[in-house]
Amino acid sequence: MKKEEIAPDYQQLYHQLTKRILYGKGESTPEQRQAAFDNAGLAEPLSTLTNKVALEAHKVTDSDIKAVKRTGMSEDQLFELIVCAAVGQASRQYQSGLAALAEAIKEGGAHAS
């Protein structure tokens, strides 16, 4: 599936959300937000937290949050980075699903014709 074949409203709303959290006004830097979104390149204890948010959010504990707050990070910065970590992992899933769909349509289309 080419980009323009994805329903334009989903694509527009998806980009509106991801661009806002990554590049819009915030308390954390765009570099920190991108790293949280990618779940890569962050220092401890933040990396433990974002990794849990991405892969086992139901196991996040009070201590995980407190450990990051003790490094001096504000709650607003933490709020932003947690949102980026959650949206980032969900985005990777979504993109995998859309790519698999595009591939199946491409082959199915060729087969059908």
Binding site: Q93, G97, A100
Partner: protein, 193 residues
């Protein structure tokens, strides 16, 4: 919730609004709603717009089907708040609580159409393994699911994989079943916008 700003960091007008909602509905505003009221320009507003499109926008899936997908994804993520919230909305939309419970207990034996069952299995795999392959999509198409339906289901999956993570990380408080029932009626009537 685990961040104080999400419990009490709201402007005066919003605090008044929360009190009014509690007085009218008889229940405190659920944490899921409070989250999207916190600095809404950062996350709440764009997230609600995507979710509204996925859950209530045009689709060959019914509202009950999409809410069932939301509950199912939440179950795979073990997110108690969202399982309860969206199984209640699905049950209300279908007018059939038993069906929702059967799907969450065992999708393979639940009395639902093969297309819906194949879709739930794909969403479960994507949520659990973080990725799917073109073969997974071909299996769905063989079960009669259209490309548009797959795209709609992937959007539901995206929205709830975000919400589940935030619910468990921020630590949404899980109220009683009566509060979820009231919340379900609100989401049926008003949607996510």
């Amino acid at each position: 919730m685990r961040l104080d700003i999400l419990n009490s960091g709201y402007k005066f007008g919003k605090k008044v609004l929360f009190s009014i909602i509690k007085a009218i509905s008889g229940y405190p505003l659920p944490d899921a709603a409070k989250l999207v009221f916190y600095r809404p320009d950062f996350y709440g507003t764009p997230a609600k717009q995507f979710t509204q499109r996925a859950m209530r926008g045009p689709s060959q899936w019914s509202v009950g089907d999409r809410e069932l997908m939301a509950a199912f994804v939440s179950r795979v993520n073990e997110c108690t708040f969202c399982i309860k919230a969206h199984s209640a909305v699905s049950a209300n939309a279908y007018g059939d609580r038993a069906k929702v419970e059967q799907v969450l207990a065992d999708v393979l034996t639940a009395p639902i159409a093969p297309a819906l069952s194949a879709t739930l299995l794909m969403l479960g795999k994507l949520t659990r393994e973080q990725a799917i392959s073109p073969d997974d999509i071909r299996n769905m198409m063989a079960a009669g699911v259209s490309a548009t339906q797959i795209e709609d289901a992937l959007a539901v999956c995206f929205a709830f994989n975000i919400t589940n993570r935030l619910a468990d990380t921020f630590g949404f408080s899980v109220p009683g079943d009566d509060a979820f029932e009231a919340g379900a009626k609100y989401l049926i009537k008003r949607g996510y916008a």
